[in-house]
Subunit: 361 residues, 2 copies
């Protein structure tokens, strides 16, 4: 049998109940039936989840390590999520805290097709931090978004992503938006990153259109499109780099360093957006550090994914963020630049200058 998968759950429970609780989760995430009803020897020996360790982390807080057969996952990223957390996600007091995979399973999923080095190469950047901003608000017509993109490019930004709320709406359909923005950026260094939406077929058509317009980086939401569909696109589109957005990630239930830093990377994200500490979201500095570390660490020989801290960032935080993350980062500032309105290009330029200054410092 192939090596087993290790899932670590963080559970709120009293000490008296934790052993029974751990055994119940091991059954729930494998055979989903009472052990007494499992007659088959192979299933009892290999498929039933095993409680490997139970470790107290604090008062009424335990980490339980459960090993699962890698054969239950096969090569399906959706099934990976199903086996790791499917029914157990319905319990409010359990967090999926971490996962350890075999090299074989990691290679089967494959990780990023490009990673930080290629994201740098595409904008002619040296070993510095990259810069990114976002096209919003939704509701603007394509020409309005294209005007913003032109200003960002004038300011020298590296990547210009769609707000993750931009889909295929009547006021700014994907095709018209792509034409307008890719057209506005023709000849510029800045790269447009359109947001994919809809079902797998629609996304394929969007990638084909992007490619036709000379665009080779796209934004995806793995928790909305489904892990299996994301990975399918990664495999089908070796020329395209993917930036993963955490929308619908429900941070409270899957630990963010695992979901964003490891799992999004595992199934092919070249860069991962996440809410930086001290912005609009409650992630702690420790959580953010752990996300970045997980995205960049040596891990089963997979390419790293570039961390993209975001969510209410401002230019005056650039030195502190570069100090915190180092140069392996893409800094994303959206709303705070857009507040400059008609001086957007200058505000963008100040952002870019600040990043370059400190990256070379």
């Amino acid at each position: 049998m192939p090596p087993r998968l290790q899932a670590i759950y963080r559970i709120r429970s009293d000490a008296r109940s934790i052993e029974a609780r751990a055994r119940a989760i091991a059954l729930e995430q494998s055979v989903e039936m009472p052990l007494a009803a499992v007659a088959d020897d192979f299933v009892r020996a290999e498929i039933v989840g095993r409680v490997e360790t139970v470790a107290e982390q604090g008062p009424d807080l335990f980490d339980v390590r459960i090993s699962l057969s890698a054969a239950t996952v096969a090569d399906d990223p959706g099934q990976l999520l199903n086996m790791l957390f499917g029914n157990t996600s319905l319990h409010e007091d359990v967090l999926l805290y971490d996962v350890e995979l075999s090299d074989g399973l990691a290679k089967a999923f494959g990780g990023p097709g490009h990673g930080p080095a290629e994201l740098r190469r595409r904008v002619g950047a040296s070993m510095r931090a990259l810069t990114c901003s976002a096209l919003k608000p939704q509701g603007l017509p394509p020409a309005g978004l294209a005007a913003l993109a032109r200003s960002f490019a004038q300011g020298g930004i590296d990547y210009i992503k769609d707000d993750h709320g931009l889909a295929d709406q009547a006021y700014s359909p994907f095709a018209a938006r792509l034409d307008a923005i890719a057209g506005a950026l023709r000849g510029a260094t800045a790269r447009y990153v359109p947001s994919l939406s809809g079902d797998l077929d629609r996304m394929r058509a969007q990638i084909a259109a992007a490619r036709g317009a000379g665009v080779n980086t796209v934004l995806v939401a793995p928790m909305i499109m489904g892990f299996a569909n994301f990975r399918r696109l990664v495999w089908e589109s070796p020329d395209i780099a993917f930036i993963a957005h955490p929308t619908m990630g429900g941070a409270a239930r899957i630990a963010p360093p695992l979901l964003i830093g490891k799992l999004f990377r595992l199934i092919g994200a070249d860069a991962v957006v996440f809410p930086n500490h001290g912005g609009r979201f409650g992630y702690s500095p420790d959580t953010c550090h752990a996300i970045a570390r997980a995205a960049l660490a040596d891990w089963h020989g997979l390419r790293p994914a570039l961390p993209v801290p975001a969510g209410g960032m401002t230019v005056d935080r650039v030195p502190e963020m570069l100090d915190f993350y180092g140069a392996d980062v893409m800094l994303l500032i959206g709303g705070a630049l857009l507040e400059a309105r008609e001086r957007l290009a200058e505000a963008t330029g100040a952002f870019v200058t600040e990043v370059r200054k400190f990256s070379h410092g």
Copy 2:
């Protein structure tokens, strides 16, 4: 402009902060930028989310109703989830509690293609409750699962679903499982409900194979496959009935009556599985009642979805469950029947008899 979408969030917050918190969510779920940075009149008037009401529900607990432009959702079920809860799902203290849609948006998504009446017709049932069991444990070969199916059918069960953990694993590939089980059930009244897995293309191939084997009901996991891909299958497969499984539903963050009773129904589930109270999961009787009511209620002219309470149910609970849910229900008992092992057909027969007795009582 079309009527607006109403999202209701349940928020833990002190009274002093709730107004600001509500405004922040209204921005986050629409334009995702400071209001001061929104220059466009149309966007300010129509696209920016509006705080409609703030109602105290208890100490430090508030329901905030925010209206969103339906144009931001267009016709995309994935985008519906993105606009309702995308980034806000990353806040631990906010629950997406309920949603109100316009008739137009409900019709655009379409709801179930069949619903309870057709599920009854397919097994020749009158207005009684339906019965269901589950094929498990995973790890059994196709012949082992087929033997279980044969016993369930001998016992007179209506629907036999795959455990939601059954995917396309080496020990029981989808195609071989389908052949074995559909073959075992040939001539029986009982209907096999195979579990779909993988990306959209794989699921399409699985549906085509099911159809070829005379199977016209399938199990899906909307939270894993992605809402848009589920709805695409519903539209492409008008002959197929879909039973939705709540795996990865993360009950703590989207209220179960909304997610399972309304949203799964909205995008096409003919029946919805959920954890009944007093079983392996912590749902209260009130929550279960609300799920069933939401699945069955008159709602924008959509067909109802049949409630399927499950998760550790036993035959001795049948009278109580029928009393609680009425006849518009499919009772699902898995592990408790499988514990009977070689007497599975008799145990199934006792379950079926009990349901028929009380359904006609």
